[in-house]
């Protein structure tokens, strides 16, 4: 085979600085690149974080799930703020005892409960929750209206509103801390297997397993599509063209996802899957698991009793 002949312009074209230079808008793509990279890193970190050896890690996963869910339900039923604070302290003690690092706890606390707080903040205002004013934020002119609603004399934060918000925030913090203790002491495979053994539909369990398994692959594919485009981009084009590119990228990712799903299904069929997924039976419960469930039941019953008596 003879070597291909390159066209004349190939070596004759040199960078011409007299041509209009593109406006440097490359920075616009940085957030996308960083977001994809951060997502990938976060996922890799979560997937590769080993389960630390602790007393909770040794509890059978089904018993652990039942216990933690019972504690979460208990936290949502308590009404008194001081009791919720005690419950939160209990959850924190569990988290510390299973050697959850402060940085991991803070990362989660800053994310989920603060988001919840943003939702509940309006409830602190007298516009939503009436009660004695704690702090006045704004004075309205007499007779002010907002559409069909008459506004009060002032916009205040109420004591009742603060209690409602505090209760909600404490519940969120407690629940998130408990769930974090669960996932940090149980590897994903054992967790999913336990959920299946607790009666979660098998196909649902399989879908969850696969989502967990293939998320990083699809994220990598999305990053590759983005980087491939970036490697041939000098500057961002007009918005319409960028939008077209994003749509095409999504289409390509969907096609790859679809193809992968098809291949996975074929691989399952090939190894005997006939629609009725069989899973490996796990070990039975041990005395330590019974002790854990008993302790959980005692803690919930104790807190419920204190709430009723006070």
């Amino acid at each position: 085979m003879s070597a291909p002949t390159l066209p004349d312009w190939y070596f004759s074209s040199v960078p011409d600085r007299t041509l209009p230079q593109p406006r440097l808008r490359r920075r616009a793509s940085r957030p996308v690149r960083r977001a994809l990279a951060s997502l990938g890193e976060a996922l890799a970190r979560e997937l590769s974080t080993p389960v630390r050896n602790s007393w909770l890690a040794r509890i059978e996963p089904r018993a652990k799930i039942v216990g933690i869910v019972a504690l979460v339900v208990g936290a949502t039923l308590l009404q008194k703020v001081w009791l919720l604070a005690v419950f939160f302290a209990l959850a924190l003690a569990v988290a510390v005892s299973v050697r959850l690092t402060a940085s991991r706890l803070i990362r989660i606390w800053l994310g989920v409960p603060l988001f919840s707080l943003a939702i509940i903040l309006p409830a602190t205002l007298n516009l939503v929750t009436h009660g004695p004013a704690v702090l006045t934020l704004w004075h309205f002119a007499p007779g002010s209206r907002f559409g069909p609603w008459a506004l009060p004399e002032a916009l205040t934060i109420t004591q009742t509103g603060l209690i409602v918000a505090g209760r909600f925030a404490l519940r969120s913090l407690t629940c998130v801390t408990l769930v974090l203790a669960l996932v940090a002491t149980t590897d994903a495979a054992a967790l999913l297997n336990a959920l299946r053994r607790l009666g979660m539909p098998r196909v649902f369990g399989m879908v969850l397993t696969m989502s967990h398994r293939y998320l990083s692959i699809l994220l990598r594919a999305a990053e590759e599509i983005h980087l491939a485009k970036l490697s041939r981009t000098i500057t961002a084009g007009p918005l319409r063209r960028e939008q077209r590119w994003v749509a095409a990228g999504m289409g390509l990712l969907f096609r790859r996802t679809y193809r992968l799903a098809q291949e996975v299904h074929e691989a399952m069929l090939s190894r005997g899957y006939d629609g009725d997924l069989q899973i490996k039976p796990g070990p039975g419960l041990r005395p330590a698991d019974g002790a854990w469930l008993g302790a959980v039941a005692l803690a919930i019953a104790g807190l419920a009793l204190v709430e009723r008596l006070t």
Binding site: R213, I217, S270
Partner: protein
Amino acid sequence: MRRPELPEPVFEARDVCYSYPGGPPILREVNFSVQAGECVAVLGANASGKSTLLHLLDGLYFPTGGKVLAFGRELTEDSVETPPFSREFRQQVGYLFQNSDAQLFCATVEEELAFGPLQLRRPAEEVEARVADTLRLCGLEHLRERSPQTLSGGEKKKVALASIITCGPRVILADEPTAGLDPRTQQWLLELLFELHRAGLTLVTATHDLVAAADLADRVIVLSEDHRVAADAPTDTVLRDLDLLLAVNLIHVHSHAHGSITHVHPHAHPVQHDYHEHAHRD
């Protein structure tokens, strides 16, 4: 220990045609049979229909024309979904996919190896024993608790093959088994496949790697770029037929310079230097 012989032939393709819905033909009037204990390589260039042919042999696709028979029974959607044949067929035929990521979908290596026997309704103790034996056979004990997604390409391929072995198949279909592997893993895989073949298993390997075909196969079926069987003969005969290999795009005429002399020859192992031609540059 050699297994009892299977009814012969293991596979039979009779005038098999296949095309994807609305697409061009992928296979045209393909005829061949595979006897028990044979090791057959399906050779062909990219997009010649090798993978599709293996999918047809594994009852994952069904021909749009002609018939595919396995163990004397026609593979149809009904037959591969109806017990007892469906379970027997899946137990007897294992498929090593080209894309290991698609084949490894469980959360850990151990679960991956247990998946097949569990679906085939083997008792739990037997599944445990099969997993332990296969991990030992493939030298994968240290990866037992690992997630397949954290493994290297070579390790994934080993686990994929191990996940088939636990089902105890008597026939293994392997799609480009050596593609993308480093030389040591390639050699390991070929040696293990060869050992399985020596133990009595029937192997059908789709590849365009002539070295792998030469190492492994007794017989070669060549698919041409127009999706027909261009040859079906012993491996030596096919690999010495340079005109055939050139025609089906499995070797190419290679041109490189030594000083003022341009050196031209068909290029592909293991027939690289059987044929030479020298031409002077103008």
